[in-house]
């Protein structure tokens, strides 16, 4: 598995006039890996995806997809192995779901036989012969996902794949992504916020104003950000006093004892607490939420800019 990464970006930059949409981004996605691009609207996610797809040219740096330059003429063959779901796509209303998939399958030059399998995977088999005008928003989104899965792609790029989906379909999407990943496909998805992703993503790249603000697994990001873990202790009043004395300066008392500690010191801290050997009613340990992590990264980078 230590071959060329499916996607490789080296100091990629893209400018639109005075605006730098993507600014010196380094990134690699390996086969069998799922990477999420996260950022606010206008953080540069779509621009980055378009450069990977060879729809626009970077102003600086290098883009390689399956080892090839997406703007080179030879990239045509690579395109057959890429599945893409755009952020917003309205398929032609007067075509049926099956005709739509057949159209894109023919363009990719792959067999049109395994359509039923695709429809089954996104729960659309019953509606395959219906015109798209009768589809709900969620059904259209799922048809888009089926379209991206045509011809068992080696690289799957999904722009906001879960927008407009109910929680059950959303779980189904992540299930499909996982299957694809296990089959050796590299998956790149983009999302507005980290909170939407659950912990089903291998790595996260947080983009902020075109810059790569952070890259790593979600636990890594939590740790690197240095956001404290919050510990709440419920106990009889005299125990709380002892706790406050022992952890002088770190502890706040307001009915319960509240302490902040660095995530990696959490266990040592708890041992220390247990060593006091005092009666306690309950202990709550709260790691920073994904939303806090995301906001912290976006905020930090934003302050650095101004």
């Amino acid at each position: 598995m230590n071959s060329v990464p499916n996607i490789m970006l080296a100091t990629v930059t893209k400018k639109y006039g005075a605006l730098t949409a993507v600014d010196g981004v380094d990134l690699a996605v390996q086969a069998g890996e799922c990477l999420a691009l996260v950022g606010h609207n206008g953080a540069g996610k779509s621009t980055l995806i378009k450069m990977v797809l060879g729809l626009i040219a970077p102003d600086g740096g290098q883009v390689r997809v399956m080892g090839q330059d997406p703007l080179s003429p030879g990239f045509k063959e690579v395109r057959r192995t890429i599945g893409f779901l755009p952020e917003q796509v309205l398929f032609q209303n007067n075509m049926t779901g099956r005709e739509t998939l057949e159209f894109y399958a023919r363009l990719k030059g792959v067999s049109r036989k395994d359509q039923n399998d695709l429809f089954r995977r996104v729960d659309l088999l019953a509606a395959a012969e219906n015109r798209i005008s009768t589809y709900s928003k969620g059904m259209r989104q799922r048809l888009g996902l089926a379209q991206a899965l045509i011809g068992t792609p080696a690289l799957l790029i999904l722009d906001e794949p879960t927008s407009g989906l109910d929680p059950a379909s959303r779980r189904n999407v992540y299930g499909i992504l996982n299957e694809m990943k296990l089959a050796g496909c590299a998956v790149l998805i983009s999302s507005h916020a980290l909170t939407e992703l659950d912990d089903r993503i291998d790595r996260v790249a947080i983009l902020n104003r075109g810059r790569l603000a952070a890259l790593g697994t979600i636990p890594d990001l939590r740790r690197n950000m240095g956001l404290p873990t919050e510990i709440r202790i419920q106990a009889p009043a005299e125990s709380l006093q002892l706790v406050a004395q022992h952890f002088k300066g770190k502890c706040r008392l307001n009915g319960v004892a509240q302490l902040d500690c660095a995530t990696h010191e959490k266990l040592a801290f708890l041992k220390d607490l247990m060593a006091l050997d005092i009666p306690l009613d309950n202990i709550e340990v709260r790691d920073p939420s994904l939303e806090q992590v995301f906001l912290a990264y976006s905020g930090q980078e934003g302050q650095g800019d101004e």
Binding site: L55, I56, P86, Q88, Y104, K108, G109
Partner: protein, 277 residues
């Protein structure tokens, strides 16, 4: 090549699905029949064949109608797909932008050709069968020339439509520009020429200049081609008075129309290639 064919069949199916073909064919047939039947009344029992009358009146109709429906078919093709998000998706497939334009062009031209051949064919057959002297060989030739040149005229304005569509940012802009272009070619251009001639009083500007100015407009080239396509049609349309040296040969007129097909298509591809998606 198979990619183009995939795009062609999709456009063609779309044209049948949304009943575009059947509607336009019916409108064409209805207008053609109406015009021909009305047009043949004043000729009574002259020596002029009824089919020649039909050719003259149909070509006048086509000059207005065919550019309009061709532009309606084409103006949406790039900018519409861009707005629906399908253009980005399409371009991530193994198809080039030139193939996209060509696929749409061939598909649309096929739809237009069906509407023209069936619509005008119905009218032509009806006239021929109702006439006493039946199928004079010569008029069938002018009728065929009418059909072919009408398809060619449609192709010209499809190409112009793609230029507009590839360049426009929004569908509404593309629609507005299309209407403007249509007015320019079928109405304003000729009005301008007339105004030029009238103000000049026939002095300074010679016939050649006017002729070349006319040739520069595909709609006028089409008109010249059909109105002089036989002695009968020339007589009917008042073109018989043209001296031989002012006549432009059929082959030149066809070549002009073909150039008018090629130039916008090439321009559309070039503009589309530069378009940010």
């Amino acid at each position: 090549m198979s990619e183009i064919w995939t795009l062609v069949t999709k456009e063609a199916r779309d044209g049948f699905r949304n009943r575009w073909v059947i509607m336009i064919t019916l409108i064409m047939a209805g207008l053609a029949l109406g015009l021909s039947l009305l047009g043949s009344t004043p000729t009574g029992t002259t020596s002029v064949s009824p089919l020649a009358v039909t050719v003259v009146s149909l070509s006048s109709l086509s000059i207005f109608f065919i550019p309009l429906i061709a532009l309606l078919l084409a103006y949406d093709s790039v900018v519409g797909e861009a707005e629906r998000g399908t253009l980005t998706l399409l371009l991530t497939h193994p198809v080039s932008r030139v193939q996209v334009i060509l696929g749409k062009f061939i598909g649309h031209l096929f739809l237009l050709a069906i509407a023209i051949v069936v619509g005008y064919g119905i009218a032509g057959l009806a006239i021929a069968f109702s006439a006493e002297d039946g199928f004079a060989a010569r008029e069938w030739q002018s009728f065929l020339k009418l059909l072919l040149s009408s398809i060619l005229l449609g192709a010209v304005f499809l190409g112009i439509g793609y230029v507009i569509s590839a360049g426009a940012r929004e569908r509404a802009t593309a629609a507005a520009i299309s209407i403007g272009v249509w007015l320019l070619f079928v109405l304003l251009y000729d009005m301008g020429l007339l105004a030029l001639l009238a103000s000049d009083g026939g002095m300074a500007i010679n016939g050649d200049v006017v002729k070349w100015l006319m040739l520069f407009n595909p709609a006028d080239s089409y008109r010249m081609y059909n109105l002089t396509s036989s002695n009968d049609t020339a007589l009917l349309s008042g073109m018989a008075g043209l001296s031989a040296e002012h006549r432009v040969s059929d082959i030149s007129l066809i070549l002009i129309l073909l150039a008018w097909v090629a130039a916008p298509l090439i321009a559309a591809c070039a503009i589309f290639n530069r378009r940010q998606v």
